[in-house]
Amino acid sequence: MKNSLTIAGKELAGYFLQPVAYVVMTVFLLLGGFFFFALLRYFEVTLTAYSAMQNPAVLQRLNLNERVIEPMLHNLAIVLVILVPAITMRSFAEEKRTGTYELLLTAPIRTGEIVAGKFIAAAAFMLIMIGLAGMFPLILIAFGNPEIGVMFSGYLGLALLAISFVSIGLFTSSLTQNQIIAAISCFGALLLLFIISWPAQAGGTRFLGLLQYLSLPDHFAQMVTGIIDTRDLVYFLSLIFVALFLTQRSVESARWR
């Protein structure tokens, strides 16, 4: 554990020694701010329109969570599909290319500790970034009266999604010494998780049911609407576990080639 934290500390500091981390955070927060502004503006226009029509039944149903936070979180999830590969592509690929891999693998630490260290750092980076995006709900809380529990559940969903993405990114990075290949294959895998249920929408066999279960947006959407279901938690946690397990195997197997 101590060794993992040593590596995590070095990795996390390493993100900020390069401009990539700042660029990724800036892009994420700028886009987040843009979504927030656009959705809030649209909400306001809708609200004014329905007030003018004197339609209290519809007005009752308009709320900040559904109209602003939910769509914003869905958009940010898509943004992460593109940004996460940029963050994780270096993790193993660069070490292999520059030869520092030899330092890590000859140090008296287990491969599991190396993987855990890199995972902790990448996950912490995501939590910092998503934490900063927490300013949007804070603004709503300051000026309106949204449901805090629902927003919390949505952000928890986004955090779990980001951490799952990061685990997949670590895995693809561990397969190659080329950062571009690591990034592209990570991007492919993440996008696939979003669209994997498409064949299942026609309905039918058990296999298609499996695809439906694997589909990430379904589980994410549940959390965004404020439902924290153990099935969805298990889904994300098993995604993380499987990806990290494969990463550990892949790092270990590199020794045997």
Binding site: L17, Q18, T98, T100, L103, L104, A107
Partner: protein, 255 residues
């Protein structure tokens, strides 16, 4: 002490080293010689636990590098062929990271850091970013990294490559001074280096050990160069001979 026993390493069909055995005693410097591609780096990577051998074992002070890997690796300081530096870290931060990675207690890190910086002539460079250092200084940081936890076994893969003559002189002096009661294995293809600082020489050619001898016991009058050339050409010769024999056998089969 390092005992290398019957190491064989195959990459797929290609056999890089075959049945390599030698012994490096504590308090001595072993020069590991061989032409390019002879299997020096492969052997060193197996000794340091970077990869397992296809067959055979290595004992580091009696610990098996494969089955007691973590304990054995703790005893080794390793300088790979390319110094393993994180190019965007500062020298100081990098060395601290390596010290922690090798399990040094926190209290011992700072004195050890000052010590290796001084020994490797890096005191003025400690705030520099690794990526901005010249090749020679990178090599020194690599050496400092191998030394920081004061390991009883040092494995150095071509430690003087890329240095200017004055630096080479300094680094050789340093290695000589370091030996003390440590076990040092250094690979090189610079022959005078071996005759200057090593106690023992192992010559490897085409993946096989062709000579293991104390420098003192080498026949007087012959230079190391002659011995080296004789050792590696003898190897080639044998192979040539066996190939000819095979051809003859094939011919015999046909007639």
């Amino acid at each position: 002490m390092i005992e290398v026993k019957n190491l064989t390493k195959a990459y797929g069909d290609f056999v890089a080293i075959r049945d390599v055995s030698f012994k490096a005693e504590s308090g001595s410097i072993l020069g590991f010689l061989g032409p390019n591609g002879a299997g020096k780096t492969t052997t060193m990577r197996i000794i340091t636990g970077y990869m397992p051998a296809t067959a055979g074992t290595v004992l580091i002070d009696g610990l098996d590098i494969f089955s007691q890997s973590l304990e054995a690796r703790r005893k080794i300081g390793y300088l790979p062929e390319n110094p393993p530096l994180y190019l965007d870290m500062r020298v100081e931060a990098y060395l601290r990271f390596v010290a922690k990675l090798r399990g040094m207690p926190r209290a011992k890190i700072e004195p050890a850091l000052d010590h290796v910086l001084e020994v490797c002539g890096l005191t003025d460079m400690s705030h520099r970013i690794c990526g901005q250092l010249s090749k020679g200084y990178r090599q020194r940081v690599g050496l400092a990294q191998a030394l920081i936890h004061d390991p009883p076994v040092l494995v150095l893969d071509e430690p003087t490559i890329g240095l200017d003559p004055r630096q080479i002189h300094e680094i050789r002096g340093l290695i000589h001074h370091l030996a003390g009661n440590r076990t040092v294995v250094l690979s090189t293809h610079i022959l005078p280096e071996v005759s200057q600082i090593c106690d023992k020489v192992v010559i490897i050619a085409d993946g096989r050990v062709v000579l293991e001898e104390y420098l003192k016991q080498l026949p007087g009058g012959t230079s190391l160069e002659d011995i080296f050339l004789a050792a590696i050409t003898k190897e080639r010769h044998d192979e040539g001979a066996s190939a000819e024999e095979k051809l003859e056998e094939v011919g015999a089969g046909h007639t």
